[in-house]
């Protein structure tokens, strides 16, 4: 039958989550950090959809993953507005330079 076992899907989600964490930690361009956060959202969505197959009558996993996408869209809109505002103020989106200029 057409079934994908649960474990590889969860491992794929874990790998994508860690790659997103790595992007957030190592990258210094604010937009690339935002991409890492999107990757983390997608890994969470993958887990929700994978577990949804084992309790399919309520559709909880898929409905919740749609809500996660709503939150992700709202988050990226606000984050990009903040990034553009920061760019117009500091003339850079490099996080280290911004931190150096604000001297926190």
């Amino acid at each position: 039958m057409n079934n994908i076992p649960l474990i590889p899907v969860l491992l794929l989600g874990a790998v994508l989550f860690c790659l997103g964490i790595l992007a957030v930690i190592t990258k210094r361009h604010a937009i690339v950090v935002l991409m890492g956060i999107e990757l983390i959202f997608n890994a969470a969505n993958l887990n929700l959809v994978a577990f949804n197959r084992h309790q399919p009558d309520l559709m909880q996993g898929q409905v919740f993953s749609v809500f996660v996408m709503v939150i992700a869209a709202a988050e990226s809109a606000v984050a990009l507005a903040i990034i553009l505002k920061v760019y117009s103020y500091f003339k850079t989106v490099n996080l280290d330079q911004i931190r150096h200029e604000t001297d926190v």
Partner: protein
């Protein structure tokens, strides 16, 4: 090994490879394209997991919305002319250590956990048997069991859009 499983591994490999490419490249625009391939392969995996509505939402919201927003952000926050937008990486070793430690913990948990499937439901039954699509079930759930989260999500979207529009307006009193 069934065809579905082969497709799953192909798209999973593609997702991981393009996410790694997103990390490895220095060009921000190439990183956005790597993220695009990751999102597309994840949409394919959602289809393989019988979540067609989630897959279509992924295509429309992420690929059609979020990624275009990110590309706009790359274009608008870029003052170098004729040169690629670079992004430098720092903390490579410590970041790699943290990420691999998190992955080790997650993999250990995933492999050692005891999954208790509900009685009488096997994975083969989990596919929607009588309907070809999950849209009907999701639609019914959204207006019955999950009506309140649905409305709250719409409010959050409205507030976020208003906030983004307010933040990005130019300050006239400088």
């Amino acid at each position: 090994m069934s065809l579905v499983l082969i497709f799953f591994y192909v798209f999973g490999f593609l997702a991981i490879a393009s996410a790694a490419f997103m990390l490895a490249t220095k060009n921000v625009l190439y990183a956005a394209f790597g993220l695009l391939v990751t999102l597309l392969s994840l949409a394919a995996i959602f289809i393989l997991l019988f979540a067609d509505f989630v897959a279509i939402t992924q295509l429309m919201v992420y690929v059609g919305g979020v990624l275009v927003l990110i590309l706009f952000g790359v274009m608008l926050s870029n003052q170098v002319q004729g040169r690629a937008v670079q992004s430098e990486s720092v903390n490579g070793i410590s970041g790699g250590l943290v990420a691999s430690a998190i992955f080790g913990g997650l993999a250990y948990l995933i492999l050692s956990a005891d999954y208790l499937l509900p009685e009488g439901i096997t994975v083969a039954d989990a596919a929607p048997a009588n309907t070809k699509s999950s849209i009907i079930a999701i639609g019914i759930r959204l207006i019955t069991n999950f009506a309140l989260p649905f409305e709250v999500a719409s409010l959050i979207l409205l507030i976020a859009l208003m906030g983004a529009a307010y933040i990005s307006t130019e300050d006239k009193h400088e």
